[in-house]
Structures are given as C-alpha cells and as structure tokens.
C-alpha cells in the first residue's frame, strides 16, 4: 500500500489551482493528476476535493462547465479564471517564503 502523507493544512486549494494551470479538468482528473505528479505520495481523501472546489467557485477563482469526456460521459470541468491565476501566484509566493523559512530553521539548527 502506498505511503500516505497528509496534506499540509490549507494547501489543497493551492494544489487544485496549480493543477488547473495545465487546462480544464474534472474532479476525478484533478485527483488523479495530484496523485501522479506527487508520485503517489500525496493522497487526498478524494471526496474532500468537492467542498474545496465549491469554495473556489464561490471565490470566483475557478469556473465550471459540463462537457463530455473522451468516453462520452457527462462531467463537470473546472477552468482557472484570471482571478484564480492571481490568487495562485499570491499563494505560491507565500508558500515559497514559508518553505524557505522552514528550511533555514532546519538547516541552521
């Protein structure tokens, strides 16, 4: 069984936004993408994507559209908005600052 690592709190929204920079994806696609890109290290309790997605919709950072998949099933695709892009860069820079700080502390000790 794959090692499970809990997400850092508050990072799920950022991961979703980042995943969507490559283009529109449905919920399952987002979960898959996160899993694959992190080499199966980050596993989200998959369902918790959905409350998070509603939050992002409400903030206006993503928008949703029903489309057909390659297998011809109906699915809701999420697309990053301009506001979402700004928010992502904002969150990324904050996150990087934090990581850098943590790293400095860990190395300095």
């Amino acid at each position: 069984m794959a090692r499970k690592t809990d997400l850092l709190p508050g990072t799920l929204d950022m991961l979703i936004l980042k995943t969507l920079t490559r283009g529109s994806l449905h919920g399952y696609g987002i979960a898959l993408s996160i899993k694959n890109l992190s080499d199966d290290i980050l596993t989200v309790e998959e369902g918790s994507l959905y409350p998070a997605l509603q939050r992002l919709l409400l903030q206006g950072w993503v928008k949703a559209e029903w489309k057909s998949t390659e297998t011809n099933r109906r699915a809701r695709y999420y697309t990053l908005t301009a506001a979402g892009r700004t928010q992502l860069s904002h969150e990324l820079s904050q996150f990087e600052q934090m990581i850098a700080a943590i790293t400095r502390v860990l190395q300095g000790a």
Partner: protein, 881 residues
C-alpha cells in the same frame, strides 16, 4: 467588490439549490465510477472495486453536506433545523403541548409581576432628577415620620444649608360647584415653589409664581391631566377658567402633565397654593404639612438629616412647650413613596420567578427523557456524518422553537394578566399607587422577557447536550432505545425533581404563611360590629356653617332625617371612622398627676351622641354622651380602655380631669366613661390610647356619617345622600360605602389578600408541576425498568415488593425534596417577615402541613406508575425485549 460577488453567487446557489444538489451528486458519482473502473482494470471484481472506490472517496453524505455549507448562508442550517424541530414536535404533540404550556405559565407569571416591579420600583418617578429629591418631615416617638408645622417649616427653611429648594404640601378637600350641585373633590395645598422643586412643568398654562402663596394673592389652582380630561372635557381654553372651590372663585392657571402623580397625597384633582392659613397652621404645635426638598449637589440624605436634626434641637430649646420631642426625618422621596410596597412586590416577584424556575426544570426533565429516547437517532445521525456541533445545534434549535412559542404566548398572557390585575385593584388603593397605572410592556419589560427566554434556551439545550457529550456512539447504536435507563439521566433527571419539589415546598410555605397572616388580620379584635354599617363622607360649605352652633344644628337636622329612614336603626357622625389608622392625635395631660413635660400623644375622635350605640361598642364603666351635652354644658370626654390602663393604672378614671399640656381651664374635660378599645388603627397596627369628644362640644363641617341598618348596606346609601341633600343641597357627599367594604378594601387588607391570592396561586401551580414532574420521572423509570421488574417477578418477587421498590424510589426523592425545601423556606420566610402579621416566619403548623400535603400528593403521583410496575406480566416483559 469581492464580498458582493460572493454574496450574489450564494444567492444564485440558493435559488438553484435543487440543481446544485443534483449536479454535485452526479459529479461525485462520476468520480467514484471512474475510480471503480480503474480498480477493475487492475483486476478487482466489480463489487470489490466499487467498495474500494467508495472507501477511498470518503463519507459522501458528509462531503455533500460540507460542500453545501460552503455555499449556503449561515441561517439556512438553522432554518432546516427549525423545520426538522417543528416536525419532531408535531410528531409528539403531547410533549410539545405540555412543554409550551408550562413555559407559557411560568413566563406569563414572571413577566406580569416584573411589570409591576418595574412600574413601582424601577421606573423613575415623573419628576426632574428624582434621585435628588427628599421627603422631609418631623419625627416623634410614636410617628417616625410626622407632619411639619407651618412655623417649624419656616424656621427650617431659613436655617437649612443642604437644600436648593424646600417646599411643603398638605392634603385638602374642596367643595366644588358643578352644574349637578356641590361635589367634594380631593386636592392638595402647597407652597408656591412645590412644582418647581419637583421639576414639574404644566403642559398648559403656568406654574405657581413665588409669592402666590400669600393670603393677599388672587386665588389660583392647577388641575391634573385627568381632571382636565374628565371634568372639563379637554377644553382648550381651560387656562383662565374659574372653578368655585369652597365658595371662592378660583382661577385655573394650568394643567399638570399626564404622567404626573404624587403618590404620597393619593388622589388630588385640584392643587392650590397655601394662601389663607387654617387654624392649625397658625399654631406651632399643630402639625399638618410634609416637606419635599431638592438636595444641593454633593449633599447626601444623611447629611441633610443631620442638618435638620440640629435645627430641630435648636427649636426644641427655643420653643420647649410646642417642640419638645420633635425630631427630624429625611428620606429619599422614592423611599417615602414606595418603601412600604417594596417588600411585597419583591416577594411576589420572587414567587413568580420560582414558578418559572420550576416550569423550566420540568421542561428540562422532559427534554432529558426525550434525549434519552432519541439516543439511537442521534447515534445514527452521528454515524452518517453529522458532526457533534451539528447535533448540539439540533437540540438548541428544538429548545429555541419551544422557547419562542412559550415566550410569545407568555408575553400575550402576561399582558392580559397585567391588565386584569390592574383592573382588580380598587380605585382607593390605586390612588395611593398611581405609578402602577403607567405599567406597560415597555422596553425594560421586553428586555427582561428576552433575558428570560435566553436563560430558558441555555438551560434547555444544556441538558441534552450534556447527555450527548458523555455518550458513546457505538454503544448507543448497539443498545438503541432499550436497556436500562441511562446513568446520565439517573444522575441529572432525578436530581432535577428534587429541586422542583424543594421549590414547590418554598412556595407552599410562603403561601401558607401569607394566608395565615391574612386570616389573623381579618380576625383581629375590632371592638365594634362592622356588619350592617353604611357610611359616607359629607362636607358643609364653610361660609354657610361658620359658627359652631350652626354646625351642631346642621348635624342634628341631618341625623334626625336619617333616623326616620326605613331600615335605619341608629345614625351618628364621627371625625374619622374606625380602621382608618392611628393619627389625628392630640396631646393630653391628667390633672393631679405628675407631669414630666413629654407629649402624651393620643387619638382624638369627635363623635355624636349615638356613635357608640351605632357601631355597638362596649361600655366598660361610666356612661356615653347625651345629645344635650353641648357648649352650654361642662366639657366631658370618653376614654378607651388602653388610655385607662396607661394613664390611670390602678385608679378609677371616671370623674378625673384631662386637659391639654398646659392644663388651661378651658381645655379641661371630665372623664364620664370608659369604652372597650375600638380599632381606630389600621388592622395591623397596635391600639393606641384614645379620647372621644362629644361632637356638640367640638363641631366641624367635615363629617363621616355612619348608620346601622337592618337592610343591606348598599340599599340605604342613596337614601342617605338624599336626606342630606334635603337638608341643604350645597352639602357635598362622597365615598358612600359599607363598613365591611371599607375594611376589606383597606390597603392593609387589600395587599394581604392579593398577596395571599397570588402566592397561593403560584404555590398551587408549583405543587401541580412538582407532582407532575415526579410522576414523569417515576413513570419513565418504571418504563426503563420493565425488564428488570419482569426478571424479579419471574424469580418470585411479590407484587407488594415491586410496589415497595418503586415507592421507595419516589419516597427518597420526595423526602430529599421536602427536606431541602423546608430548609430553604425557613430562610425565605425570614425574608418575608415584614409582611407577616400575627404569624412567626417559623410557623410549625404551616411547615408541617406543607410537608404532609406534598408528601401525600407525591404518594398519589407515584402510586400510578407503581401500580403499572406491579401489574407487569413477567412473560410479556421478558418477551418484549
């Protein structure tokens, strides 16, 4: 704006809630199915794959709920919960009805009484800066607050250094000419600055001006708003109209504000300046005024009192004859006005609050039992993903629904009760508590209602939440609604009943004490026979009947007309009827006895010859007056038993001489008779020594006419008024009533009676609620122990031992409740001490009867469930599980 956009999106979601739910459901299903297909392609069987996908996805109900919470408004959950709560309550109407009814009862009683307390004690008096006003009076040993004399007032006013304003008032009656004849009206005479001191400005016209209280000033009067309304039909040209008071044309110069009242005077329609001094006001030794003063900034009542006392001491030295023993009394004006009623209102309010408490406890207990029965539902909802907070919120919502219903109904009922109670107060009593008329559901009362509701919600949601926090989901789910009664319920529920019973005991003891006190009051020795006595007040115009001989002649005429009326046996007059209260005193000195210069204060009554026969007073020795004893004969006096005992110990008073403090020859009177003590005092006061002067030697033009009739009192009253009118149509009459009415409506009797009724009512309800509570607990306990009882009986337990088992449980709770209640009520009764008459707060009879009554009721209440327990069929009980 971001926030606006967010809000609009939320609204969008709200409108398309159904679509939102369906889409979310669909996309989650899609997710799981894709996952399952993935697993299948890895070689899992269809069923296993679906299972795994579901596990990986998480609790979809909770996730759906969470998603929904993200996009929904905060209030929506509450709305849903309320709808659910209403559904729950509708499903169990018995519970809902009982709970709401109990709450309504408690809240209505509590609010109505709070409205009284508010009107009497909290609402500020209708004067400017009322906390800076003081009531100023003289003080003697027998009257801690006694009237000022006019000359003393002037000296006090001149010498004082603590008041910015200092004025006086005195009650007065006027004969007012009206189109339908002469009518006596109530009024007051005041020094010119009186209303300025109070800070009251007329709404029409003007205030009295300085100097308008001199004999030479033109006659002026202010009228109250009610008088303007009722007597003058609110005419706009009222200022400048002439009212003829006591035959003197008087200009109405203004109308007092609607909210103005002056409870110390009681009713007063016409207010005039003190212009012509009356006989009393010309003498320093005659006291008929009260002072009202405004304290200077920074001066306390205590300082003011000290200042007045030092002035009194100074005057005592200066005028030893008139001022010996005359001290000073200064209290905040509000204390003088409501000081007497404060304890009674507080006691009644506490009674109502206790009733509310008992109702709350009862409802809490019901809720606790409900929580117990809904353990399984709660566990199930928890397992399906409801968070603990969400479950607590559900309980809070249910409590809120109950409390809102109870409060709304309670508020309505309180309003009705307030108006009903207010209407039940006789006008005589209301005249002395005018502040009650301003009672309303004002913001303070509504605020209090809000506070009470909040308190109830907290109490009600606390109980089930405690239950919830100590519960174990798995155990609850497994055990469900069956099995032994929860230990939590055992711990809390049964203790709650003990509290209920204890409160019921406190209220019952309180009611018992007040009822006993009221009984004593109604059975005090009166010294006369109060039945079949009809009475009225009459006032003859001073101008027509100025001379004593004219007054004597008038009364002889009136009485002779009355004596021949059908049904009238005796007719007489007195200056003050019995049971009016000690007062209208004179100072006496016994000729030939040593005298230490102290004032011997005794009640003085001027009565006509047949007075004692009319009221059936008992002669102890000597004789009563004859009608021929007038100014031409030697002066005589009848004394009461108390005076004989106090001033003639071991002597025969008959034939002795009593006079004024200086024993001036014309003040000397010979004692011709001793009458058994007639209760001149109010019912709860002690009997004072009294002297009775023959009216013919001490006449007046204000009288109280009393007749003894063989018919119903009410039926002769119109004939009495007629008889007087026939003698002279210019004589005013008022207050026609029977002696029994007068006694029953006297403020002391009235207050005791209403307190007895109210507290008695609260206590009866408390007893009912307490016993119902106990019944509920025992019945629930029995229903929970059916299996245990079945096992016991299957193993050979007798029915009697089952009875014993249940009754022992009830008995223990009752004993605990009664014991705690008795302990509390002894403390509570001490608090009531001031209200009680002739009963000690530690009255064994009351305490024992309450304990027995409650014990018996509790036995009856728990017998029903015990019988049900004993009639359990063991086979059924065991099979049912």
């Amino acid at each position: 704006m971001n926030a606006v956009a967010r809000f609009l999106r939320k609204v969008g979601f709200l409108i398309r809630r159904r679509k939102f739910d369906a889409e979310l459901e669909e996309e989650m299903r899609f997710h799981r199915e894709q996952q399952a297909m993935e697993f299948q392609s890895d070689g899992m069987s269809l069923e296993v794959a679906h299972h795994a996908a579901r596990r990986q996805f998480g609790n979809d109900t909770r996730l759906h709920e969470q998603s929904r919470e993200v996009v929904s408004f905060r209030g929506e959950v509450l709305l849903q919960d309320s709808r659910f709560a209403l559904r729950q309550l509708r499903k169990n109407p018995g519970f809902a009805l009982t709970a709401v009814l109990m709450l309504t009862l408690g809240i209505a009683a509590c609010l109505a009484l709070f409205a009284f307390v508010d009107a009497a004690l909290i609402k500020p008096l209708p004067y400017k800066d009322p906390t800076r006003l003081a009531d100023v009076a003289e003080s003697v040993r027998v009257f801690p607050r006694s009237n000022l004399s006019w000359e003393d007032y002037h000296d006090w006013k001149k010498l004082q250094k603590v008041f910015t304003d200092f004025d006086v008032w005195t009650g007065a009656g006027f004969l007012l000419n009206t189109p339908s004849g002469v009518q006596p009206v109530m009024g007051a005479r005041v020094s010119a600055g009186f209303f300025t001191t109070l800070g009251v400005t007329p709404i029409l016209g003007r205030n009295f001006r300085p100097g308008e209280d001199s004999p030479s000033a033109p006659r002026t009067a202010l009228i109250t708003w009610a008088t303007w309304q009722q007597r003058y039909g609110r005419r706009s040209d009222i200022v400048g109209q002439i009212a003829t008071l006591d035959g003197t044309p008087t200009t109405i110069i203004g109308v007092l504000p609607r909210e103005f009242h002056f409870a110390l005077r009681g009713r007063a329609d016409f207010w005039t300046p003190i212009q012509e001094l009356n006989g009393c006001e010309k003498r320093r030794s005659c006291h008929n005024l009260y002072g009202v003063a405004r304290l200077k900034d920074g001066v306390t009542v205590k300082t003011a009192l000290a200042d007045m006392k030092s002035i009194a001491v100074q005057l005592e030295k200066q005028y030893p004859d008139s001022n010996r023993g005359q001290g000073a009394a200064v209290v905040p004006l509000s204390d003088a006005i409501v000081g007497d009623v404060r304890p009674i209102f507080l006691v009644l309010f506490c009674g109502a609050a206790l009733l509310l408490l008992i109702a709350c406890v009862n409802v809490s207990n019901l809720l606790l039992v409900r929580a117990e029965n809904r353990r399984r539902e709660m566990a199930l909802r928890g397992a399906l993903g409801a968070s603990r907070g969400r479950l607590v919120l559900q309980w809070v919502t249910e409590a809120l629904v109950l409390v809102i219903a109870g409060s709304a109904l309670g508020l309505g009922a309180a309003w009705g009760t307030m108006n009903l109670l207010l209407r039940l107060i006789p006008t005589d009593v209301l005249d002395y508590m005018p502040y009650l008329q301003s009672m309303s559901l004002n913001p303070r009362v509504l605020g209090f209602a809000g506070f009470v509701s909040l308190f109830a919600v907290v109490v009600f949601s606390l109980a089930p939440s405690v239950r919830l926090s100590s519960s174990n989901l798995r155990a609850d789910l497994a055990e469900g609604g069956r099995g032994a009664a929860g230990t939590v319920w055992r711990r809390f529920g049964s203790n709650l009943v003990v509290i209920e019973l204890a409160i019921a005991v406190v209220l019952l003891v309180g009611a018992g004490l007040i009822v006993r006190s009221f009984y004593h009051l109604l059975h005090v020795e009166l010294g006369f026979q109060p039945d079949h006595l009809a009475m009225l007040e009459a006032g003859a115009p001073e101008k027509t009947y100025a001379k004593p001989e004219q007054q004597v002649q008038l009364v002889r005429q009136i009485l002779s007309k009355m004596q021949v009326l059908p049904g009238v046996q005796y007719a007489a007059t007195t200056s003050d009827p019995p049971v009016s209260g000690n007062g209208n005193t004179t100072w006496i000195r016994i000729k030939g006895h040593p005298y230490n210069g102290e004032h011997n204060e005794v009640n003085e009554r001027d009565v006509s010859a047949d007075y004692f026969a009319t009221i059936k007073a008992r002669l102890i020795s000597g004789r009563f007056f004859t009608d021929s004893e007038d100014a031409t004969k030697p002066k005589v006096v009848v004394i009461n038993q108390a005076l004989a005992k106090k001033y003639f110990p071991g002597e025969n008073p008959i034939g002795q001489k009593i006079g004024g403090t200086d024993l001036a020859p014309d003040s000397l009177r010979e004692v011709i008779g001793v009458v058994d003590d007639i209760r001149e005092s109010s019912l709860d006061e002690e009997i004072w020594p009294a002297v009775y002067h023959p009216f013919n030697q001490d006449p007046d033009n204000y009288l109280e006419v009393i007749v003894r009739t063989s018919q119903a009192e009410q039926s002769v009253l119109p004939a009495l008024v007629d008889a007087i009118r026939k003698v002279d149509p210019n004589i005013g009459t008022r207050n026609e009533q029977s002696m029994m009415q007068r006694i029953n409506d006297s403020p002391t009797a009235y207050i005791q009676r209403s307190a007895a009724c109210l507290v008695g009512g609260f206590a009866a309800l408390a007893l009912l609620l307490g016993v119902v509570g106990l019944y509920g607990v025992i019945a629930y306990s029995v229903s929970q122990r059916t299996r245990e009882i079945g096992v016991r009986m299957a193993l050979g337990a007798q029915r009697s031992s089952v009875y014993q088992l249940i009754l022992k449980e009830a008995g223990l709770l009752t004993v605990l409740g009664v014991a705690a209640g008795l302990a509390c009520s002894i403390a509570a009764a001490t608090f009531m001490g001031k209200l009680l008459f002739g009963v000690r707060s530690w009255d064994l009879l009351t305490l024992t009867s309450v304990a027995l009554l409650l014990g018996f009721s509790a036995l009856v209440g728990s017998f029903i469930p015990a019988r049900r327990a004993a009639s359990v069929n063991p086979v059924d009980a065991l099979r049912a599980e």
